[in-house]
């Protein structure tokens, strides 16, 4: 039988160490909503989302109350809209009406974000893909809760450099459109290499075409719990360090598994995956950077950071895998800058640079995340940064991403406030040398030799 110490340990994690379930995300296929009439298509989409996800928020609240565990976000991901809207949308404006519909549906069911305003163009762009990508700035600017992602590369297909070049321009256009609000709309847009079909985390969540009609994916969290556990093993060997992280990750993930199963049962929607990510928030103590410091670094970004992060990421997975029946999504430590107070401190101290963050993305999940850069950064430079990140993912056969925020009218030394869970970020310097001639070449970078496994 459960004893008092175990109960106290769990409740201490929840009350003092920010243990929570970061998100319950329902993935909804919109393939059966396709119609060549735009009005009908929008109606179908609205009806499907508001039917499938109508109980999501109330079920989330029930689970929170029954187990005493906070569930921070309830969200929805949908089939990439470029696929759904291809038959009906003749212009970018047509696509943007679907964003309006998604926004309205999200508000109707009470979720805070809806992902899937997306295009998968890792090898080439269809006309619909391009129309959707060109509609992203207007779509994200006039909606509140819609998130967008574009898959630009994969290990199997190489990097679509035409897409990479276009996304540099689109990002700046989006930044310009929301410049009166510190270009904040850019945080709703992310580009990927090897984007997973079942990621529950925003802004990159979409419901892949390989998925069932509807599915529940859950993202757990817990950097604060890991950090507290690591405080008990200061100065101990790597073996002790790794075992401690594994045990903690196991416990954190089990809570996610329980929540996912309950949500699945109460909603009558199958359970998909648990995403084993250490996802930080700006709350003090809920920081991946602080975990790295606890492992033995003065600041995140110091020499040894990549190794420490590799260790942390791997042990979180090893502990988490056994705790869940299915894992997927991004599964790894997130290292966003603005959403992690320890990371912000490192930037402000000058301990970490964009290049070091790039190196860190080789060994953990995702990539250059929530990084504010000067608003006068050239589109080709942004494309160059994206191309580098895509290359890391392509060659290392992992997911990488870039979510950059060029803040129009601000430069290095300024700070930008995103609000709430998104935190704030000091603007980071970008390498000033040009890569325009590289980025302006047409076509794509071929897939690497080790992708030919057949």
């Amino acid at each position: 039988m459960i004893n008092r110490w175990e109960v106290n340990e769990t409740n201490k994690m929840i009350e003092q160490e920010n243990l929570d379930v970061r998100t319950i995300t329902i993935g909804i296929s919109l393939l059966d909503c396709i119609d060549s009439d735009l009005k009908k298509l929008n109606e179908n989409i609205y009806n499907k989302i508001t039917t499938v996800a109508k109980d999501l928020v109330s079920v989330g609240t029930t689970i929170e109350n029954e187990f005493g565990i906070p569930i921070v976000n309830k969200r929805i991901s949908v089939t990439p809209i470029a696929l759904v809207g291809g038959a009906a949308c003749k212009t970018s404006e047509d696509f943007a009406t679907i964003a309006d519909t998604l926004d309205a549906a999200a508000k109707a069911v009470g979720v805070n974000l809806i992902g899937g305003y997306s295009a998968l163009v890792s090898k080439g762009m269809t006309k619909a893909d391009e129309l959707l990508i060109r509609s992203i700035p207007m779509a994200l600017c006039r909606t509140e809760r819609v998130c967008s992602s574009v898959n630009l590369a994969s290990t199997k297909t190489g990097i679509n450099m035409d897409g990479v070049r276009l996304m540099g321009e689109i990002l700046l256009e989006l930044a310009e459109l929301s410049k009166d609000r510190d270009s904040v709309d850019c945080m709703k847009l992310v580009v990927f290499c090897n984007a997973p079909d079942d990621n529950p985390f925003m802004a990159g969540a979409f419901h892949g075409v390989t998925e069932a009609d509807a599915i529940i994916n859950v993202g757990v969290s817990g950097p604060g719990v890991v950090k507290t556990a690591l405080e008990q093993v200061r100065g101990e060997s790597f073996e002790v360090l790794c075992e401690t992280i594994k045990k903690t990750a196991f416990k954190v993930t089990r809570v996610g598994q329980l929540v996912a199963q309950e949500a699945s049962r109460l909603l009558g929607i199958p359970f998909g995956i648990i995403d084993l990510s250490l996802a930080p928030t700006p709350a003090i103590g809920d920081s991946v950077a602080d975990c790295l410091c606890e492992i033995g670094l003065e600041f995140a970004g110091a020499p040894g950071t990549t190794a420490a992060l590799a260790l942390l990421n791997d042990q979180v997975k090893k502990g988490g895998v056994m705790a869940s029946s299915y894992v997927g999504g991004l599964s790894g430590a997130f290292i966003p800058v603005s959403e992690d107070q320890g990371m912000i401190n490192a930037v402000e101290a000058g301990a970490i640079t964009l290049e070091k963050l790039e190196a860190m993305t080789c060994v953990c999940s995702v990539g250059l995340d929530m990084i504010a850069i000067p608003g006068d950064t050239k589109a080709t430079t942004i494309s160059g940064i994206i191309a580098d990140e895509m290359a890391l993912g392509m060659v290392n056969q992992k997911t990488t991403a870039a979510r950059l925020i060029p803040v129009i009218g601000k430069g290095v030394g300024d700070t930008v406030e995103f609000g709430g869970l998104f935190g704030y970020a000091p603007i980071m310097p970008v390498n000033q040398y040009s890569c325009a001639d590289f980025v302006n070449r047409k076509g794509r970078i071929p897939a690497p030799i080790h992708s030919f496994k057949n």
Partner: protein
Amino acid sequence: MEKRADKTIITVVGKDTVGIIAKVCTYLSENEINVLDISQTIVQDFFNMMMIADFKKATKSFDQVSKDLEQLGDEIGVNIKCQKEEIFNKMHRI
């Protein structure tokens, strides 16, 4: 709901005072909630109790009991929390 074991863990934490257990147990008995196990300790005037209760025949919903106990806790000056047993089993048992 039928399949679920309805064991709930009730934790009471706060400054020790006369009659904490009595008040909690009176409330539970009034609502047909059976206490299966109690474990309690006092460290430096700090009261810490864990109770395993069976809600099978409870006359009120889990939500209502949870709210009532929270309010009762506020009256006595302690923190009372109700959580379904599964979260602890999942986390601490393989």
